[in-house]
């Protein structure tokens, strides 16, 4: 990628890999790897939302967690404001946690059922020693108000809330430490359609208000389009295409992106469009196909694809594609 000054990028991920060992036998010897994230590079600028889209098992969630070092990366670098967080010690990591936070998919499991939601939010402030009891209480109430809840909700337990309200609490908890980056892992996919829009609107308002950057992980392309500035498409642990939203949805180049976009059912019976049906299933990340790992399902694969691995190339300004079709 082009060398820019360090300051204008909030997050830079360079050739990140996360392998899970497959062990077997009595002594748990390593017989292979599940390559959940396999050499991924991208960056996020301040106030920018990067949408990360892909099918289940493509490694998008693992990528999100590894970026925050909730999973230890196998290789590669994650630069946060120019500082490599993969090398941070315990103390450095803790102060990094004030800068980057996470919102989870399942609001049910992301809150401790035995803690009041107020305490859950307060935990963030407590861990980072942000003020005395009174100041913290005021701050939690402020946060509750900001995400559309009431201050009397402080003493309520998660089971007393609806899914959307719990997701609001999760957002308030992430906001508590004043982060710059939020990794949102499928934040609306567990919610009902009529509720999703409430949370999406809230997240967009907060982005504008606090100048947040999001790494927004989702499988729903219409949600991705709505919230993202740029979009990365993942397939089997790799980014196959990375472009601005306009380019990605207006002029998709990678055959996988094209097929993915054409597969999405559109809620309009009159817009019948040509659909590219992919055959077969996603291969296992434990044994990805050689060469381009999409070639087994690719409608446009040719002789070189099974032999040689493609690399991300910038075909147009800010439009990166990893495909042998564009050489």
């Amino acid at each position: 990628m082009k060398k820019k000054t360090q300051n204008d990028k909030l997050l830079e991920v360079e050739n990140l890999r996360k392998y899970y060992p497959i062990t077997a036998g009595l002594f748990h010897s390593r017989v292979g790897d599940i390559k959940a994230v396999d050499g991924v590079s991208f960056h996020i600028e301040p106030r920018e939302t990067l949408g990360l889209v892909g099918e289940s098992g493509c490694g998008k969630s693992t990528l999100g967690r590894t970026v925050l070092r909730l999973e230890e990366p196998t290789a590669g670098r994650v630069l946060f404001r120019g500082q490599d967080i993969t090398r941070l010690d315990r103390k450095g990591l803790k102060s990094m946690r004030r800068e980057a936070q996470m919102i989870f998919q399942d609001p049910q499991s992301s809150l401790d059922p035995r803690m009041t939601v107020g305490d859950s939010i307060d935990e963030a402030l407590l861990i980072h020693d942000m003020g005395d009891a009174r100041e913290r209480l005021r701050r939690v109430e402020e946060l509750l108000d900001r995400v559309g809840l009431e201050s009397y909700h402080y003493r309520r337990y998660p089971h007393e809330f609806s899914g959307a309200q719990k997701q609001r609490v999760g957002i308030a908890r992430a906001l508590a430490v004043n982060p710059n980056l939020i990794v949102a892992d499928e934040p609306v996919s567990a919610l009902d359609v009529s509720i999703q829009a409430q949370i999406l609107n809230l997240m967009m308002d907060l982005r504008d208000e606090y100048g947040l950057s999001y790494l927004f992980i989702a499988h729903d392309l219409s949600v991705i389009r709505h919230i993202s500035h740029r979009v990365a498409v993942m397939y089997l642990g790799k980014i196959v295409e990375l472009a601005t939203k306009e380019d990605m949805f207006g002029d998709p180049l990678h055959p996988y992106t094209v097929a993915l976009l054409s597969s999405v059912p559109i809620p309009d019976p009159h817009r019948k469009k040509e659909r590219i049906l992919l055959t077969g299933d996603v291969p296992s990340p434990a044994a990805p196909p050689p060469g381009c790992n999409f070639h087994t399902r690719c409608p446009r694969a040719f002789d070189i694809c099974p032999r040689e691995e493609p690399f991300l190339k910038e075909l147009a300004p800010n439009h990166w594609v990893s495909c042998h079709l564009y050489r």
């Binding site: 990591l93 004030r98 935990e123 089971h159």
Partner: protein, 364 residues
């Protein structure tokens, strides 16, 4: 104090540490002053009372709203409440009953083998004056409502003092086994890897251990002492608890709220004590409630086969004494039997009710 408690993951852990420190000081005084402030079992009992208060009762008080919620859910289960009522009644009787009853160990001459109230039977005895065996119909009286045994001891008094012993056995042994189980289970689940492997294989070995033979051995070497039996049941009874806590903690570990805490920068001890512990607490409470009856039964079984502590009249001991004359003075065996039956049933009902109330999936 607040700093310290924050470091340790809560006021509770700080208090616990203080209590352990206090016990240590008493022990030190004991050793240095060569004066028995507490006997060894006293430390043991005190330690578990403190643990139970801090980790069992204290959270119920702190999380009043949650407690009320679970109470509401449990309350809808009539049978569980019946069980709880019986347990409460029994506990009360065991605690204050002995103050109001005659000495259960004292035999009353001339009142041997009295039947319970409302029961009459023909008693045959050797009449020294006539030198003959005479029969006489004996009827239960209000003075001895549950009858007496062959030495004329009041069975009501014996059952009440036996309740105290049986409940103590149940509670203490279960506290020992659950404590070991919880610690091994939590550590195993949280650390994973080699630690997990070693601890779980150790658990497997303990599970296959011929406990009974060892107990016979121990009892024949030392005298059968109630505290020893409690400790023994506790030390060999934790394996199930360890496995259950481990599997629960393993599934909790993958839940997002643990990840959320980590992403906020929480320390390991905070995650274990503030998130894992309270969440396995519900299954711990259920395991305890369901474990108590089996411990009470185990002690009764040991007494019954003659391995119990002969100096204390637990229900098992009374039962054992009574079974020899089951054909005539059947009540001596039947009455403690009924008490055991009701107690076991009550704990099981209450435990099942608690389990349903704690289970977030069940729509009570």
């Amino acid at each position: 104090m607040s700093r310290l408690s924050a470091r340790l993951g809560g006021v509770r852990n700080a208090l616990f540490l203080l209590a352990v420190l206090g016990l240590g000081l008493i022990l030190l005084a004991d050793i240095l002053l060569v004066d028995h402030i507490l006997d060894p079992w006293g430390y043991f009992n005190l330690f578990f009372i403190i643990t139970a208060l801090l980790y069992g009762v204290y959270p119920l008080f702190v999380n009043r709203r949650l407690t009320r919620y679970y109470w509401e859910r449990t309350r809808r289960n009539r049978i569980a409440i019946l069980g709880l009522a019986f347990i409460a009644f029994l506990t009360l009787v065991a605690l204050v009953g002995p103050l109001f009853i005659p000495d259960p160990t004292r035999g009353n001459i001339g009142e041997e083998d009295m039947p319970p109230l409302g029961i009459s039977y023909e008693q045959s005895f050797y009449d020294a004056d006539s030198g003959r065996i005479v029969s006489q119909v004996v009827t239960g009286t209000w003075a001895r409502p549950l009858g007496t045994d062959d030495r004329g001891r009041d069975l009501l008094a014996m059952l009440i003092s036996g309740a105290r012993i049986s409940l103590r056995v149940g509670l203490q042994a279960i506290l020992v086994s659950i404590s070991i189980g919880v610690i091994i289970g939590l550590v195993s689940a949280y650390r994973g890897g080699v630690v997990d492997q070693v601890l779980m294989r150790f658990t497997d070995i303990m599970m296959t251990f011929p406990t009974f033979i060892l107990l016979v051995l121990v009892v024949s070497i030392f005298d059968a002492n109630l505290n020893l039996i409690i400790l023994f049941i506790g030390i060999f009874g934790w394996t199930g608890a360890a496995r259950m806590v481990r599997s629960e903690a393993l599934s909790l570990r993958t839940r997002d709220f643990i990840t959320a805490s980590r992403s906020l920068g929480a320390s390991d001890s905070r995650i274990i004590f503030r998130h894992l512990m309270p969440n396995v607490m519900s299954i711990i409470i259920v395991m305890m409630t369901l474990g108590i009856p089996s411990v009470i039964l185990a002690e009764a079984a040991l007494s019954f086969i003659g391995l119990g502590d002969p100096t204390v009249a637990s229900w098992g001991q009374i039962l054992k004494a009574g079974q020899e004359s089951l054909d005539t003075t059947w009540w001596v065996a039947v009455e403690p039997g009924i008490m055991l039956f009701l107690t076991v049933l009550a704990f099981n009902f209450f435990g099942d009710g608690l389990r349903d109330a704690f289970d977030p999936r069940s729509q009570v």
